[in-house]
């Protein structure tokens, strides 16, 4: 499978990226004014107690040494101990990964489910009323702040209509799905508009393309032309756009997680930053970075699978 040969070689390119990110996060979090020890102790802090904690977590060591420890830990598959939670960062992250992944995944799926038909309707009626409607909806859809939208959805669907749970994550699969509907809808309402616009443009282009003309010239009815030729040829730019957006979603899930009380990594990260829990910030940043890299990797694979011309 020569076309997929990059699957073997590409991961090597991730290393410098991950390394770069580890350096940047490490320096960045330590540049932030504020002291994790003092933060932990709160208003009852005394100098001895502070010094004690700093020593415990190695915060009194020179920075480069701390970084070496961090690397050494990473090599051992550890990420150090959380100052706030007092447990291993990796263990902590593992408990919080699933909700974020589920949120991102369901949002993306929902967005695609919304964007695909919207774009199809718009593109096949380009310049007519349905197209204008889709364009206006999607131009408006981008502008809503997600926290506001989320709250509105809760008020409508959960409080007034009582159809869906207000917030939280749930324990069983069905329960989780029910809990994910509103948050992923919140994300999807804006993400899908971005996808719709991109897909619509690509489809219109593709509908006018020689490929479509050639298919029509051999007597293919319009739906076959559209679904078998136009759609596959429109996907590549959207796949890449989606990958970039998933990257953003992974790193920016905090607002939706917070509105819907989803116990994910975004919330963990924000609390860690606010309490200067260095190890956790570093750990989460690394995991986010790896996830983003992975998503782009998958997008590359999908691109190659869709378009045989692409070589990576």
């Amino acid at each position: 499978m020569h076309r997929y040969r990059f699957v073997l070689t590409r991961p090597l390119q991730f290393l410098p990226v991950i390394f770069g990110i580890s350096v940047i996060t490490f320096i960045l979090v330590r540049l932030i004014p504020g002291d994790p020890a003092r933060n932990l102790l709160g208003s009852r802090a005394t100098p001895t107690a502070i010094a004690n904690i700093r020593a415990q977590y190695g915060l009194d060591q020179p920075m480069w040494l701390q970084y070496l420890y961090f690397l050494k830990n990473l090599a051992d598959g550890e990420m150090g101990k959380s100052i706030l939670y007092k447990i291993d960062v990796l263990r902590l992250i593992v408990t919080r990964i699933e909700p974020t992944v589920a949120l991102v995944a369901s949002s993306v799926i929902l967005s695609i489910l919304i964007a695909m038909p919207m774009a199809a309707i718009a593109a096949r009626n380009a310049g007519k009323a349905p197209d204008h409607a889709v364009r206006i909806v999607s131009t408006f859809g981008i502008g809503f702040p997600p926290f506001w939208l989320g709250l509105m959805l809760i008020i409508l669907f959960s409080v007034e209509l009582g159809l869906l749970p207000v917030s939280g994550y749930g324990a069983t699969i069905g329960d989780k799905l029910a809990h994910l509907i509103l948050p992923s809808l919140t994300v999807a309402l804006s993400l899908s508009t971005v996808l719709t616009r991109s897909l619509r443009a690509a489809m219109i282009e593709s509908l006018k393309s020689d490929v479509a003309t050639a298919a029509r010239a051999r007597g293919m009815p319009e739906h076959i032309v559209f679904w078998r030729h136009v759609v596959p040829n429109s996907l590549v730019p959207t796949v890449n756009l989606l990958a970039v957006n998933i990257g953003w979603l992974i790193g920016g899930s905090v607002v939706v997680e917070s509105v819907f009380a989803i116990p994910g990594m975004g919330q963990l990260l924000v609390r860690a930053i606010f309490s200067r829990d260095y190890m956790v910030v570093q750990g989460v940043a690394m995991v986010f970075a790896c996830a983003t890299v992975l998503v782009n990797f998958v997008a590359d694979i999908v691109t190659v699978a869709i378009d045989p011309r692409v070589r990576l």
């Binding site: 932030i32 004014p33 504020g34 002291d35 003092r38 933060n39 932990l40 102790l41 709160g42 208003s43 009852r44 802090a45 005394t46 100098p47 001895t48 107690a49 004690n52 904690i53 415990q56 706030l84 939670y85 007092k86 447990i87 902590l92 408990t95 919080r96 909700p99 926290f147 709250l151 809760i154 008020i155 959960s158 409080v159 009582g162 749970p165 207000v166 917030s167 939280g168 994550y169 917070s258 509105v259 819907f260 009380a261 116990p263 994910g264 919330q267 963990l268 609390r271 606010f274 309490s275 200067r276």
Partner: protein
């Protein structure tokens, strides 16, 4: 019967009582652990906990506790040995955030399985109150040694009303009734779930929609609206929370007492109570909160008088007073207060430049004295006023709670009051301290506010004492 679900802002961080100083943890400790000495519902009296009774030697140095016949959640009996282990651990363990408060303990020994004897290094009036801190909860020595501290911190073996059944990090803590609790008959609930819902609005909507039985930290702005909902009870329980405006005495003109007094008069506390707390708070007149031990109700209150304040500033030779107002980001109430105070000060000719920084940094900056004024608050976690007084007036390591306030007379009195064992004399000492502080304007007292929680109508006896503890032993959830 039933499981009570309670929404709160954040999830716990640990179940190891000595390793946290956060209310969010302490409040759940009170459900899970038991302490030797408890604070009662009113938050003004100590009452027996695991210690059935106790005696104090005349010199105030030796305390002897009779340990109750109680058992841990795993069924093993709780002995004086466990109490010793717990106290020495909080004093000596290197991970303990509280060792300073327990350094006063000289020795703690189990003279027999039911008797605990503690010797202090010096007499300490607040000592008993410290034992009521959730951080001094009695932990199972055997349990800790067999599980190890990390595992114990996840699922502790304790002797409180409830057992930690499951902890879904970031989401909820699921507690189940502890059949081995020595007051197990008192507990009506089958279990409790502490659920983290960080967004205030979402948390309230959850209760309105009936998905949560109760929610804590109700924003002031929501009280009126929630009260209108026939399915809900809005509970305002007295607290020891007191909001104040810190003044950095070390910065220029703020060192002058007249200037500080002028500031006090330039601030309209009534307006703050109205606009920020939506009338839920009451104007504060002392650093010791109303309802707390030794609160001095007749303490001086300076009237709001911007003109007079202006005059006083002029008399003190201060013109164009410009102050940096350090503001904690992300706290709605603080921001609202800041906006109000800024406008009020402007009326007295004082310019306040708001500087908003994130909470952790704000904390750092106040400690380092990089501010002129800043709003802060305090809630007591022990009944005795000594802890707060020492921090605020006692010239300890914190520069008098970051204010750099200096008064030798006050300092001396704080130390004396700590060692005075006669309640009446002590009360007088604290009255004097409150008067002196007010006179010097160590800081500006703004308002007291209650704990505001909301519960659905079918929940009864859900209440929080002034020190923050939830008495879920008595809570009932009707179907």
């Amino acid at each position: 019967a039933g499981v009570l679900t309670i929404g709160r802002r954040e999830d716990s961080t640990t179940f190891d009582p000595i390793k946290t100083a956060q209310n969010i943890d302490n409040w759940v400790f009170s459900n899970v652990y038991d302490v030797l000495v408890r604070v009662d519902k009113t938050g003004t009296k100590l009452e027996p906990g695991l210690a059935e009774s106790w005696t104090t030697s005349d010199d105030g140095l030796t305390y002897t506790f009779k340990i109750r016949d109680a058992r841990f959640s795993d069924g093993t009996p709780l002995t004086a040995e466990d109490a010793v282990f717990s106290l020495l651990r909080i004093r000596d363990d290197e991970g303990s955030l509280w060792s300073d408060s327990y350094k006063v303990i000289d020795t703690a020994v189990a003279t027999d399985p039911r008797t605990l004897t503690i010797k202090l290094k010096n007499p300490s009036a607040p000592f008993l109150s410290t034992l009521a801190l959730p951080n001094a909860s009695v932990i199972s020595k055997a349990g800790m040694e067999s599980l190890g501290a990390d595992a114990y911190a996840e699922r502790p073996i304790a002797s409180g009303a409830f057992i930690v059944e499951e902890w879904r990090r970031g989401d909820r803590i699921i507690l189940k009734k502890n059949p081995n609790f020595w007051q197990a008959d008192r507990v009506k609930l089958d279990g409790v779930e502490w659920i983290s819902v960080p967004d205030d609005n979402t948390r309230m909507l959850n209760v309105e929609a009936g998905e949560l039985d109760a929610a804590i930290f109700v924003p002031f702005s929501r009280v009126e609206e929630l009260k209108k909902d026939p399915n809900l009870n809005v509970l305002t329980d007295p607290s020891t929370r007191e909001d104040h405006l810190l003044i950095n005495h070390a910065h220029g003109d703020l060192g002058k007492r007249e200037v500080r007094q002028a500031l006090d008069m330039a601030i309209d506390k009534r307006a703050i109570v109205d606009a920020v707390t939506f009338g839920q708070g009451t104007i504060a007149n002392s650093y010791i909160p109303r309802g707390a031990l030794y609160h001095y109700a007749d303490n001086l209150q300076r009237p709001y008088d911007p003109e007079k304040a202006k005059q006083m500033l002029a008399d003190a030779g201060v013109s164009n007073l410009t102050l940096t107002y350090l503001l904690r980001a992300g706290d709605e109430v603080d921001e609202q207060t800041a906006v109000l105070i800024q406008q009020q000060l402007a009326k007295a000719g004082i310019t306040a430049n708001l500087q908003k920084v994130d909470p952790s940094q704000e904390w750092d900056m106040t400690v380092n004295g990089d501010y002129d004024i800043s709003v802060n608050y305090w809630t007591n976690d022990i009944l005795d006023p000594d802890q707060k007084t020492t921090f605020v007036l006692g010239h300890d390591s914190n520069n008098n709670y970051m204010t750099n306030y200096k008064s030798d007379a006050v300092k001396g009195l704080v130390a004396k009051a700590r060692q005075e064992l006669d309640p009446a004399k002590r009360a007088q000492m604290y009255f004097d301290l409150q008067k002196m502080a007010k006179q010097d304007v160590n800081w500006i007292d703004l308002y007291y506010s209650p704990y505001i929680n909301v519960a659905r109508k079918n929940v009864e006896n859900f209440y929080q004492n002034p020190l923050g503890r939830f008495f879920l032993e008595d809570t009932v959830k009707n179907q």
